[in-house]
Symmetry: C2
Subunit: 761 residues, 2 copies
C-alpha cells in the first residue's frame, strides 16, 4: 500500500508520461497525408504479378511463357528456370521461384512485370504450365506417419529438425508426480488458421536503380533483418540494399519474415531496370500471407488436493506448411507460457514441427501464446471444477509472484497477476459458477508474455540518434518501427518527459533503414520497452549537455536544475531560468560551440536461451487476466460476447488511450479468433479468400470492453513501462470458451467455436 | 626542403587521400539517376508563375486579377495586397510581393498557381496592373547625389547604412606615406554584372502539407539559414518547416540567400494546400537571379624605390540594386584582399553601398575577390612598370609569408604565394615584358582567399553523424551541402582514409536538413575544410571504439593497430587481424553490444570580425597565382586566350582530379567574366536574357589550362587540406588584362574587355 502511494505521487509529477496524448502520426493518417507502400508512385514504375501453382503437390513438367511475353506492355516474365536466386526462409528450404517440385498452392512459379496491373494480370494468365499432380498431405499428424507423402523428399521425413522440448525433471519422476497427484486433467486442443488481416496488404516496391543500388520499399516489421535476408537470397552485397518503410498499415506479425514476393519483385526490377510495384489484393492476402500457426495440443496438468499445481505436460504438433517461416517458432512462446504463466514446479514440453502441403505459417500477435493459453486456461478451469474450487481462486493460488524464477530461468521482477485476476473478477461481477444468469456465463483467462524485449537474435537492441535544432525541435531517429501501434508516440512522450518539453516539439523519424540506427524489429511487444529505453538514454545524454550549459548560464549547479514546460530553472531560485530553445542556441552559437546531437544504443540485459531452452529471455514479463461474459442462444447456440474485462500488468502506462486502444484491438482480434475467423482449407487451398466469406468481427460483434491497468512501474522499463502490444488477444479465446462452458456446460476444445460445435457431439 | 620531403613521405602512406577517385555522386549523375528540383513530381502538384513589374521605378495604381482567376486550371492568384508576409532580405528591406512601390523590373507583383505551367503563364498575362511610372536611378555614383530619385523614400537616402571601412592608421599619416613614396599608381576600375549561370536554374517546390508542415525542396546553398529566414518571412514556427535539397546543379553563390520565389511558392502552397513547383526558365534566370556584385573601384598604391609596398587605398562603390542581398557584403572580401594579398603595412578601405533601380545583386564565386583582384593585380602590374621592375619579382618581393598577420588581424599559417608565382612564371614561359611573341602577351594575377571557413555567422560549424552498419558500410550524414563541387567525395575520402576502408564503403547523406546536423552552408570554399574536419572528428571517434574492441579481440594494444584495406591488424604481428566488417559485428552482436554510431561537430577556431573589421576570419588562407598567355588580333582586337597556368596553395589536395576540375571551371568562369559575359542593362532591364545573347564561354573559347598544386599541408585542415572551390576564377581577369597590356600596350580598366575597348579611346 505504501509502495502504491509512492507510485501515485511519482505519477503525479509527470507531465507527459501517463497522459492520453494524440498519436504523433495520427494527424497525418486522419488527413490522408500518410503514405503507405501502395501510395508510392515512382517515375517509370512497372506493376508486378505472381503466378502460383494450381496444385498443392505436383511436379512442373513444362513452362511456356511465350504468350505472356506477347501481351502488350509486358516488360519481364521470369521463372525459377531463368532467374537464379538462393533459397530463402529460416531453414533455407524455399526457392523464391519454384522449379521442379510444387509443395503448396501458394508456390510461386512465375512472375511478370508490365506497364499496367491489367497487362500483368493478363500475362500471368497467359503463362502455360503443365503439372504432374502428386498425392499431398494436409494433416500434420498424418504427415508424421512413415508412409506419408514427403513434402521435401531430400529430408527423408516430414518432421522438421527443430527441437523445441523442455524437461525440468526426468521422465520417470515426472510420471510419478502425475500418478501421485490428487487431481489430473488431460485433453486435446486444436487451434486453426487465422489471417492477420491488417488494413495494409503485403506489398513491395523494388527499384534496382541506375547506380546498382536496390531500394526496397516494404511494410516489413524488421527492416534490418529483412535487408540481410534479401541480400542473401539475391546474392547481393547488403551494403547495396536500402530498405525504406513507408507508413505501415498494421502487421500483427505478418511482416516478420522475408517472403517470396520480396526477392521476386527485386528480381523483376533487376531484370527491367525499372521500379516494380507488387501489392497483394485482399484475396491474395487471405490466401498467400502467412496465417497464424495452427496447432494440436495434448496437455495434462496435475495438482494436489489444495489446488497447488504439481506438474504440467504439453505436447504440441505444429503444421509448418510447405516451408518453415516464423510460425513453428511459436513453439518457443508456448513453452515459456506452459512453464511461466503459473508457478508450476515441473514441466515437460515438446513441440513437433511437421511439413505438409498446406500454406506455410507465420507468427501472429501473441506468437503462440493465444494458441497455448487457449489450452492452459481451459485446463485450469477444468482443474478447478475437478477440485471443486473457484477457478479464480485456483489461479490466484498458483499465480506467479514478483521476484521469482520460472523453470526455464526467466526472472520475473514485477508481477501483478493476482491483482489482475481479482480486478477482472470484481469488474465482470463474478459470483461463482453458474451465477451469470440464464444462458449466460462468465469465464476467465490469464496470460503471461514477454514485456521487456525477447532475445531471439544476437542483439535485441535498438539505436537512437537524437538531435535538437536551434528552435528546440527534437528529432529522434529511432531504429524502431511503428506498425501503427503507437510506439512512436510512446517514444516521443518518453523524450518529452525527460527533456521537460511539449510532445509537439518531438519528431520521430524512422522511415529509412539506411539512415536510422539498427533495431532487431518490432515484435514481442518490445518497441516501447526497448526503443523507449534507447530514446530515454539518448534524451539523458542530451539533458546532461543541456544541464551543464544551463548551470553555467544560470550560475547554479546541475543537481538543482528542473526541466519543465520548455524551461530550465533552478529549483531553489526559480527566477534563474532559461527557455529550452534559447539554451540550445547558447550552446550552439558560441565559439567552440556545438549542436546537440547524441546517440544511444540499448540492448536489454537478457539472455539467449541455451540448448536446454534455459535463459532469461526478456528483461521484464507482463501478466494479466481477462473475464468474458457471454450469452448463448439455447436454440441456435449462437454465442454473443456481452462484455470483456481486460486487466493488464504492463508496468507504467505511457499513454492510457493508446494502451486502451491496443487492448481493445487485441480483444476484438481475440473474439475473431475464437468465434469467427477461420481460413477454411481444402487440400491446402483457402476456400474463403474474401472478406465476404472470411468473417472479421465488426463493431456489431464488438462487446463492451473494459481495459484496466495495474500500474506497478518495472525497474527495467522506461519510466517503468513494460510491453502491451500483443497481450489483449492472448487469453480471449480461453476466457470465452470458459464462459461458454459456464453458460452451457459444453467445453469446446477446438477453435473457432462455431454453433455446430455446441450441439451435442 | 626537409619539410617537403617529410610531407612527401607522409603523402605516400595515404591510400585514399591524394587519389583522383571518381566522384561519389558521379555515377548517379552520369546515368540520369540524380534528381534535381525540376525532376520532382509530387502527387497533385501545381505549377507557379510570378508576374513582375514592367517598370524599374513606379507606383502600383491598381491590380485586377479577375481575368486571371477565370483562366481554366488556375487555383490561386496572389498579390501583396491579399497575402501578408514579412519583409525579407538581410536588411529586411524587401516585401516578397510588392505593394505600392516598385523599385526594379524584377519586382514581384503577383503570382499564380495552376494545374499546368501553360495555364499559369496564361493567368499571369491576364493580370491587369496599372502603374504610375517614376523617374529611376541606375548609376550608383549618380544615386549618391542629393537630388537623385530615392529608391526607398523612407530611408531618406540611397546610400545604404552599411559601414565597411577599415583604416590601419590615421588619415593624415596615411596621406604622408603617399606623399613621401617613390612611386604611386592610382586608377579607377569598373566591373560589371555577370550571371552565375549554373546548369540548374533557381527553383522551389513547396508543400504545405496536411499536417501543417511546410516542406520546401530547394537548391539553396545554406538550408539551415534558409529555413530560419523563410520562417521569419512566413511568420511560421521554424520547427514546422522542413528543407530538403535535391541534387544541386551548381550554384556559384546564387543559392546563398532566400529570394522572393521562396516565400511566394510557399504562399501559393499554403493558399492551395497543394504542392507547388516554381522553376525559373533560363530567360528568368538571366533576368531575375541575383547577378555578381558590380563595383567601381578607386585604388591607389604607394611603394618605395625598391618596390616595397608602403600603403594602399581602395574606395569602392557597390550598386546594391533595389534591395540588399549578399552582393554588397562582397565589400568585406574586397577589404580582406586589399589588406591581405600582399604584405602592405598601411591600408585604407572604404565601401559605399548604394540603392539603385537596378536588379539587386548577389554574391558569386570568389565573393568580391574577382572584382577587387582585377584592380589590385593590374595596379601591381602598373606599379612594376612605374618602378621598372619585373612584375613577378615585384609580387614575390611583397608576397605574404607563412606565420604572418595581416593588418586586419588575419593569421596566415601556411602560405606558398612566392612559390606559386615562381611556378606560374616558369610554366607560362615568362621571360620578361614584351617577350611573348608578336601580338602576344603574358600577364599575371595573384590571389588571396579564405580557405578554412569564414565566420560570417555565429557558428561557422558543421555537424556529422557517422554510423557503421553490420556489413561495414559507413553512412556519413553531414550538414554540408555539395553544390556539385565534389565536397561529398572529399568527405568520403577523408573518412575512408581514417578508417582504412575503400571509398565505395562510404555513403554520404545530406539531402534532408531535418535529418542532417547543422551547417552554416556551402560558401567561402569551406565545405571540404569544415565538413571534412567534422567528418574526420567523427571518423576518429568511431575508430577509437573500433580500435578498443579490436585490441581486445586480437589480444594487443590500441597503439599497435593499423586500419588498412578493410582490415585491422597488429603492426608487430600482422597475422593478428580482423576484417573491418567482422569487427563491427563483434561490437554489435554481443551482450551489452552496440552499433557504432557517433556524432561530431566542428566549428573552426576563428573569430567574428569586430566593428573595426579586425579578427581572424578563417582558420586558414589560400594563395596562388595565374599566368595567362593571350594573342590579340591587331586588326579586330579580338582577344584569344592561348593558355592559363593556375598554381594553387590549397594545402593538401584530397582529390587531384576534382581539384583540377574546380580550377578548370574557375578559369573558364574567369575568362567569361573577362571577355564575354555581361548582363547588358538598360534602365534596369536586362537586354540580353538568353544564351544566344549572353555569351557563356564554350569549349571553343577554352584555352589550354594547367592546374598546379603546391601542396604544403595546413595544420588546421583535414589531412592538411584548405579550400579550393572559388579561387580558380579570382585572378583570371587581372591576368588576362595584364597579358593584353603586355601584347598591346593598352590597359583596360573596365570589364568585360571587349574589342572596342582596345581601340584608342
Amino acid at each position: 500500500m505504501l509502495a502504491k502511494l509512492a507510485v501515485l505521487a511519482y505519477a503525479e509529477k509527470y507531465r507527459v508520461i501517463g497522459k492520453s496524448l494524440p498519436k504523433v502520426d495520427g494527424n497525418a493518417k486522419i488527413r490522408g497525408a500518410a503514405r503507405y507502400v501502395d501510395d508510392l508512385e515512382l517515375p517509370n514504375m512497372l506493376y508486378g504479378k505472381i503466378l502460383r501453382s494450381r496444385y498443392a503437390h505436383a511436379r512442373i513438367v513444362r513452362i511456356n511463357t511465350e504468350k505472356a511475353w506477347k501481351v502488350p506492355g509486358v516488360r519481364a516474365v521470369i521463372t525459377g528456370y531463368d532467374t537464379k536466386m538462393n533459397n530463402m526462409g529460416i531453414l533455407q528450404d524455399q526457392p523464391p521461384l519454384k522449379t521442379g517440385k510444387i509443395r503448396s498452392v501458394r508456390d510461386e512459379v512465375a512472375a511478370v512485370a508490365a506497364e499496367t496491373p491489367e497487362a500483368a494480370e493478363e500475362a500471368v494468365e497467359a503463362i502455360e504450365i503443365e503439372y504432374e499432380p502428386l498425392e499431398g498431405v494436409f494433416d500434420p499428424e498424418e504427415a508424421m506417419k512413415p508412409d506419408a507423402p514427403l513434402v521435401h523428399e531430400e529430408y527423408g521425413s516430414n518432421v522438421v529438425d527443430l527441437k523445441m522440448n523442455f524437461t525440468s525433471m526426468d521422465r520417470d519422476s515426472f510420471e510419478q508426480v502425475f500418478e501421485k497427484a490428487a487431481a489430473v486433467v488431460s485433453d486435446r486442443y486444436q487451434v486453426h488458421y487465422m489471417n492477420a488481416s491488417p488494413l495494409g496488404t503485403m506489398g513491395v516496391v523494388a527499384h534496382f536503380n541506375e547506380t546498382g543500388e536496390l531500394v526496397v520499399y516494404t511494410n516489413t516489421q524488421a527492416p534490418f533483418l529483412y535487408r540481410h535476408e534479401l541480400a542473401k537470397i539475391m546474392g547481393f552485397n547488403p551494403a547495396k540494399i536500402r530498405v525504406i518503410q513507408p507508413e505501415i498499415g498494421g502487421a500483427f506479425g505478418r511482416g516478420m519474415d522475408v517472403y517470396p514476393i520480396d526477392p521476386i519483385t527485386a528480381a523483376l526490377s533487376i531484370r527491367t531496370r525499372r521500379p516494380v510495384k507488387l501489392i497483394f489484393s485482399r484475396e491474395e492476402e487471405l490466401q498467400y500471407a502467412p496465417p497464424r500457426q495452427p496447432a494440436v495440443v495434448y496437455m495434462r496438468t496435475a495438482a494436489d488436493r489444495g489446488g497447488r499445481l504439481l506438474a504440467r505436460e504439453a505436447r504440441v504438433v505444429l503444421d509448418a506448411g510447405a516451408y518453415v517461416s516464423w510460425g513453428p517458432f511459436d513453439g518457443r512462446v508456448m513453452m515459456a507460457t506452459v512453464s511461466g504463466l503459473y508457478d508450476v514446479p515441473h514441466v515437460l514440453f515438446d513441440a513437433k514441427v511437421v511439413y505438409t502441403n498446406n500454406p506455410y505459417t507465420g507468427t501472429q500477435r501473441g506468437a503462440g501464446n493465444p494458441q497455448i493459453t487457449f489450452a492452459i486456461e481451459q485446463q485450469m478451469d477444468a482443474l478447478a471444477e475437478e477440485l471443486g474450487m473457484d477457478p479464480v481462486e485456483l489461479r490466484i493460488l498458483n499465480a506467479n509472484k514478483p521476484n521469482s524464477t520460472t523453470p526455464q530461468g526467466m526472472k520475473i521482477t514485477t508481477c501483478e497477476l493476482r491483482e489482475c485476476l481479482r480486478k477482472a473478477a470484481e469488474l465482470i461481477g463474478w459470483r461463482g459458477r453458474g451465477m451469470a444468469g440464464p444462458n449466460r456465463g462468465i469465464g476467465f483467462g490469464a496470460f503471461f508474455h514477454v514485456g521487456g524485449g525477447a532475445r531471439v537474435y544476437r542483439s535485441d537492441g535498438c539505436g537512437t540518434i537524437l538531435s535538437i535544432d536551434d528552435f528546440g525541435l527534437v528529432t529522434v531517429i529511432t531504429g524502431s518501427t511503428d506498425l501503427g501501434t503507437g510506439s512512436d508516440t510512446a517514444i516521443a512522450q518518453i523524450v518529452a518527459e525527460e527533456l521537460g518539453i511539449d510532445i509537439t516539439n518531438i519528431r520521430i523519424v524512422n522511415d529509412d533503414a539506411s539512415i536510422r540506427p539498427w533495431d532487431v524489429g518490432t515484435h514481442a511487444s518490445r518497441a516501447t520497452f526497448v526503443a523507449g529505453n534507447s530514446a530515454l538514454l539518448a534524451a539523458r545524454k542530451a539533458k546532461e549537455i543541456l544541464a551543464k550549459a544551463a548551470a553555467q548560464e544560470l550560475d547554479t549547479t546541475v543537481d538543482k536544475l528542473v526541466f519543465e514546460k520548455g524551461v530550465v530553472y533552478d529549483r531553489d531560485a526559480p527566477s534563474k531560468r532559461i527557455e529550452f530553445d534559447r539554451l540550445v542556441r547558447r550552446i550552439h552559437f558560441r565559439q567552440g560551440g556545438s549542436n546537440v546531437v547524441v546517440t544511444a544504443y540499448y540492448d536489454p540485459p537478457t539472455e539467449m536461451q541455451d540448448e536446454r531452452w534455459m535463459g532469461n529471455l526478456s528483461a521484464a514479463y507482463v501478466f494479466g487476466a481477462q473475464a468474458a461474459l457471454v450469452e448463448v442462444d439455447p436454440e441456435t447456440k449462437w454465442v454473443k460476447v456481452l462484455k470483456v474485462v481486460s486487466v493488464h500488468d504492463s508496468g507504467r502506462i505511457i499513454n492510457p488511450a493508446a494502451a486502451e486502444g491496443q487492448v481493445h484491438g487485441g480483444v476484438v482480434m481475440g473474439i475473431g479468433y475464437t468465434l469467427y475467423e477461420e481460413l477454411v482449407l481444402e487440400q491446402g487451398r483457402v476456400l474463403n479468400a474474401s472478406l465476404m466469406d472470411y468473417l472479421l468481427p465488426t463493431s456489431a460483434e464488438t462487446p463492451e470492453i473494459k481495459a484496466v491497468f495495474i500500474e506497478t512501474p518495472d525497474p527495467a522499463g522506461p519510466f517503468g513501462a513494460k510491453g502491451i502490444g500483443e497481450t489483449g488477444c492472448i487469453p480471449t479465446a480461453a476466457a470465452i470458451a470458459n464462459a461458454i462452458y459456464d453458460a452451457t456446460g459444453k467445453r469446446v476444445k477446438q477453435l473457432p467455436v462455431k454453433p455446430e460445435r455446441l450441439f451435442s457431439d
